[in-house]
Amino acid sequence: MKILVCISKAPDTTAKISFTDGDTKFNEAGVQFIINPYDEWYALVRGLELKEANNGTVTTISVGGPDYDPIIRKALAIGADAAVRIDAQPTDSYQVASEIANYAKDNGYDMVLCGKETIDYNGSQVGGMIAELMDLPYVSLAVKLEVNGTIATIERDVQGGTEVVEVSGAFVLSASKGMAEQRIPNMRGIMQARTKPLTVVPASGSSAMTEVVSYELPPAKTACKMVDAEDMDELISLLHNEAKVI
């Protein structure tokens, strides 16, 4: 079983968000970067569980520069067997998906696993685009994945519940919360990660179709109005007459 897991770099969830160069660039100063949580906690760990149960391999793939290497080493420390980094600056979902699809289509993976979205651009696009470009089925927002031979049984979030789908043959999936439990790399894993292969491949030259022209921060909140805990009629009145939300 050959499993490909897409890994993206994202600012730590507690990072302070600010911008530079006339609000056109994310300010990376002092920001700690991590593996995008959905990619790590759910897609990667479920991939590792399946590999362990089925005697397979997990390869991670990322589109990024050398600044990606620390988070890729972490994925190897958690348990991936090998890593591929496509050497290009990621600019939009289409470019990233095309680069990954171009690499993956000749390598016979049984499944391509992604997180449901990155926590920086919140696009939720790359998985579906890879599926389209590789002409494979795509199961979005998956919370459960079981594989039996060539049949995968996947449970995914839908309006008002979950849906169980069966896929035969290769597929692309985006993983959501519930798929697996986070794994903390141990010392042995960290040592082994140093010698595992991290292959850097040149980009195929896919170009982006969108660009960010500027960023904005939300306007500062006005001060919180305190209401007496004994006087909930006052709160209801404020919500009705002042905020007009009920």
Partner: protein, 315 residues
């Protein structure tokens, strides 16, 4: 500009997020809707009230098959410039497929209409709601996935024309086996105008009765913080925050949630936030519009009574 909007149906009704997408599309240009399944022609014609001029329906697709549906939408999108989806469960499933298939640039989580004064620029939330990006689409065809609850829908008396639509959708290697409804029914969290949410301050899952009662009275959806979902007091699908669901209701009431930055990331699209917490120093108060320092077990029952009184007087 000609616009195509994909509208998902749910038990024969067009989803609220899809109504928003139709209305959004109609503000951009002449709007055609593409949908599928078992929906009454009268309900389809009524989509004219949201701004659709024409509705295309494929009745041969009866279940949500992303492979077939994305081919259907692509076929319908042949001569249009802008394709709009709601960024809900179904939109997330097929919109990016359609975009890649059409060689179209895509913006998801759109919060504004496109500004066409200098290209085609759309505002979207980034960094899990902590900032916004103005994204420019440079391709000829453009795909937009609209964030639910981000525009106000206005309706008219207009009716749309309805046509059956078919396309070569090929075979699918995917089949839907079963639908499992979430327990409790109630209001869908991502659609909800009002959300009542609670956290560890409630001390145990047995204490959620009052939260559910308040939500029921108000017609609100229930939600929770991450620790509460992680320890199994509440189901994962109720987890609101950076790594859970992001919500944008008109009113978000947080009970016993301290307001960690990861939680705020999932709720800061809310129009008004009310925070109830015993700790006056809880960071959530800095983000809130209205705050109550007090014990949830005393405040919430009072709030339920006050709301009942208000409701009786106003309805």
């Amino acid at each position: 500009m000609s616009v195509l909007v994909f509208a998902d149906s749910n038990n024969g009704a067009i989803a609220k997020s899809a109504q928003e997408a139709i209305h959004y599309g109609s503000k951009i240009g002449e709007t055609t809707v593409i949908t599928y399944g078992d929906v009454d022609d009268s309900a389809l014609a009524a989509l004219g009230s949201y701004g659709a001029s024409k509705v295309l329906i494929n009745k041969t697709i009866t279940e949500f098959d992303g492979q077939k549906l994305s081919k259907l939408v692509r076929a319908a999108a042949e001569s249009v410039e802008v394709i709009v989806f709601a960024m809900d469960f179904s939109g997330k499933s097929i919109s990016s497929r359609v975009a890649a298939g059409l060689n179209a640039g895509m913006v998801s989580g759109a919060l504004s209409l496109p500004d066409t004064s200098n290209g085609f620029i759309i505002k979207k939330a980034v960094f899990s709601g902590k900032a916004f990006a103005n994204c420019k689409i440079n391709s000829a065809k453009k795909v937009i996935a609209l964030m639910p609850n981000s525009i106000q829908v206005e309706t008219s008396d207009a009716m749309a024309t309805v046509e059956e639509f078919s396309a070569d959708m090929g075979d699918s290697t995917l089949s839907v086996k079963e639908f499992k409804a979430k327990g409790g029914g109630g209001v869908l969290l991502t659609d909800a105008d009002l959300v009542v949410s609670a956290g560890r301050g409630l001390k145990g899952p047995e204490n959620w009765g009052m939260i559910e009662e308040l939500a029921n009275e108000m017609g609100a959806a229930t939600a929770c913080s991450r620790p509460v979902a992680d320890i199994g007091w509440r189901p994962h699908h109720e987890h609101v925050g950076q790594t859970g669901v992001a919500v944008r209701p008109n009113l978000y009431i947080a009970v016993g949630i301290s307001g960690a930055i990861q939680h705020l990331a999932g709720v800061n699209g809310s129009k008004v936030m009310v925070v109830i917490n015993t700790d006056a120093e809880a960071p959530f108060f800095k983000a809130a519009d209205y705050g109550i320092v007090g014990d949830a077990f005393e405040v919430v029952p009072k709030l339920i009574e006050a709301y009942k009184k208000f409701n009786a007087a106003n309805n």
